[in-house]
Symmetry: C2
Subunit: 552 residues, 2 copies
Amino acid sequence: MKLVIVGGVAGGASAATRARRLSEDAEIVLIERGPDVSFANCGLPYHVGEVIPDRAKLLVVTPERLRTRYNLDVRVRSSVESIDREGKAVVIRDLASGRVYRESYDKLILAPGAAPIRPPLPGIDLPGIHTLRNLQDLDRIKAVVDGGARSAVVVGAGFIGLELVENLVYRGVSTTVVELQDQVMPPFDQEMTTPIAEKLAEKGVQLILADSAERFDAVEGGVAVRLKSGRTLVAQLVILGVGVRPENKLATEAGLDVGPRGGIRVNDHLQTSDPSIYAVGDAIEVRDFVSGDATQVPLAGPANRQGRIAADNVFGRHSRYRGTQGTAIVGLFGLTAAMTGMSEKSLRRAGKAYRKVYIHPAHHAGYYPGAQSLTLKLMFAPDTGRILGAEAVGGEGVDKRIDVLAVAIQAGMTVYDLEEMELAYAPQYGSAKDPVNMAGFVAAGLLRGDHPQLDFDEFLKMPISERPSLVDVRTPTEFEAGHVPGAVNVPVDELRQRIGELPVDRRIAVYCQVGQRGYMATRILLLAGRDVVNLSGGYRTFQLLRPTTKPD
Amino acid sequence: MKLVIVGGVAGGASAATRARRLSEDAEIVLIERGPDVSFANCGLPYHVGEVIPDRAKLLVVTPERLRTRYNLDVRVRSSVESIDREGKAVVIRDLASGRVYRESYDKLILAPGAAPIRPPLPGIDLPGIHTLRNLQDLDRIKAVVDGGARSAVVVGAGFIGLELVENLVYRGVSTTVVELQDQVMPPFDQEMTTPIAEKLAEKGVQLILADSAERFDAVEGGVAVRLKSGRTLVAQLVILGVGVRPENKLATEAGLDVGPRGGIRVNDHLQTSDPSIYAVGDAIEVRDFVSGDATQVPLAGPANRQGRIAADNVFGRHSRYRGTQGTAIVGLFGLTAAMTGMSEKSLRRAGKAYRKVYIHPAHHAGYYPGAQSLTLKLMFAPDTGRILGAEAVGGEGVDKRIDVLAVAIQAGMTVYDLEEMELAYAPQYGSAKDPVNMAGFVAAGLLRGDHPQLDFDEFLKMPISERPSLVDVRTPTEFEAGHVPGAVNVPVDELRQRIGELPVDRRIAVYCQVGQRGYMATRILLLAGRDVVNLSGGYRTFQLLRPTTKPD
């Protein structure tokens, strides 16, 4: 068996080492265009900020290690120019010498990754405009920062863009972010990004949303970025973080099937339309685990698993890739935002029925010092209660709850299962009723009809004349500090006595701070025969939907 | 409907509030012997250490709150003396006035909890000997510490005992722990407690294992604790943490079925042998979720869920309790130990077939600063790969992995599912191959026959003459720093060249530091036709089994 692997980072390196574990006899050739294999892609932004001070730490595995330990034929600075499918060979260019040669294969695994998008705008190739994909890009960006750059524009507020922003701020670089969408972190639902936008503002980052770069011009000491809105930003450093595009040139030129978004098409065994060729990682189209639809999700975890699975199949094992859930996480100035499964907007786009709830619990027992608040949004099927997706934002404990929910999604669990989950509780770690249980209670209460809820965004979209009668069940002090316009205040603890003050001929919508007192109020009114709904997640959810300080 | 609930802490309070949410008309009477309801049981040790400086924080919900918000008839300092099942009434003593009266019920929920065991030893009732169950116990212990106690003996190294030890150390109290078992934290497997024992030693705690208190004598300024071994310890403060016993007196006197360990017997609806009487919390016998056997697990999370489920059933809803997994966690001087499902020793006791693996990964990407090592032990069924239990010890990230595995157990998942889990990865939070995935790889490799493993404890139990030929595949530097007696050193990177040095007529056992290089070595030798096993978890597992500094 002669196996050739194109690309030596996450998916390619995993495929190569797995292949060697399956066969000591196989000839395994790993071709990588850059000088490094298996570097820490996800760590690159943190070397800019010197959070990871030692660049060598980013070299997870060296070519030398792959040679000695795994007996791999590693060829770095080598570019695969084309695939001869009939002749079962690739054409390789040695970038150092310029030599071009053929290498035959029995099986081929493509792991070329994805390239940062550089939109074809005037001036896009100016030297001051960078993208970040590998250590060489990193070196260039870091050199500019080390050289004393004081200002930067980051185009794109996705994960990598924001991680760069954080690290630029650490270095004292005055940073502006420009994002086409009306929110940061486009994979998240907008309201869930409010705390992130607020944190960026707090750290002095200028956030320009719903705008985009239109042209770039060289100016003294930097680049002028002209925005669609007409605004011009001048900075010493410009970084593009507007997404990636699958590196599919080799595949398309070889006539392999490619999806509408450019991802190489593979079956569950990660086999392309040519049975001798497999493909893995950011370059492929995957199946969304929840919706079943074809999608593209550039993530390191799936890439690694795909590498292993492709190697299994090359050696005759029928391992299957289950699809990608899109579990993702980003840390920013001590905040964490994470998600798994489908977002609300992706559910809407796919036309899928769903319900949602918000909770705002503390990450561990409130009586133990250091409890931090988090917001958890859960999407689930209205009929079965199957969990469809979750998003969370907060400080500590966000990663844990999203991981728990990622497993619940993978297991096909429902909101009723969340009610019964037995998670580890001591006051430093969680609560006797963990946030995950709480989400289950609220969601299951909704589906059982015990706890009718109205989504706060739906309420706000209604014409005022059609809205239910709005009752704030918090204390007068809380009410005075800020409430939803149009609400009357009847504290939950007075509700039984003052029930006569509420209209009998009209639906009532109650809310409290996070939803719990609203739940009790809903029960009291429902059991009194009233038509009542609780506004999901209370005033905190309202504040996410209607932030008081809207970014620029 | 008139519902009487006996016990107002975790299970009782949950039942009462749930009951009110289900009915505004029901008369709900909550009887509590102590002065407080719903206090933070699990927080008590932390007020001793002033980690929770404000005692009021421990009063999660006051009787007044339960009255106003939930319209409950709360009667504190009231003791239920007996149950008249035929007359459907309880006899209550008002502890303040001494008045005894009857209260009728339609349904009764028993939530009396469990009481700390006070073994009938000479001197056990001396005033210097304390147990910790409620705020009054706490006040007594804290008064002694605040009064300047400099020495303490804690009898019992279970969770509460060790939490108390930590807090006594914070207060500068010189502390000795006496434990009957040959390990701390008896629910864990012994080797997993080694880091905890070492941490206690590091903090100056004297640990006396496999010994027990035999008598107590008053001495000037304190208590002399005479141990079975003959040793005598003198301390100003003695705390017993030797477990709890279900408060079953009411139930047994009323003729309700009680299990062999004293837990009140209930069905899946938490109904006792009297259909009008339910029971929840630490006082009941539960079904072990994994083994299906009857057991007793005093934990706050399950108690809360049981309260809700009992109330559901009282009001005609057929909610079912699924059983208890025993998910538990303890924090100690920055270390965390947690478990879920069955331990190895409980599997042995139950005579269940199992296999196990150990891994010692970093809690997040090693290239990002602050990565802490954790040890994860996974037990699973040899035939199906179903996960049976997990234990972990380390710093950060232990709680997350145990919660993930708790969900996997609840979902009936297998080690093959762990391989495919898509967990949140950014370098601050995890790894592209998360510890949970790694555990899946190692376990699935074992079951598939790709990665034959021998348990290190089995190896060490073998007569030396029968042991496989032992090969340490780490570097010479690591080998020199410490290795398993009898091992020869052949670094994995030289193994292909030096394979001729290894015996051909004998099984070979390899090991490295944590198991990963041992895996590669196993593959090389296996593919070369050798009979080889990897010693699970490598030298780190050996160090857990054979700690260099054995506690006292």
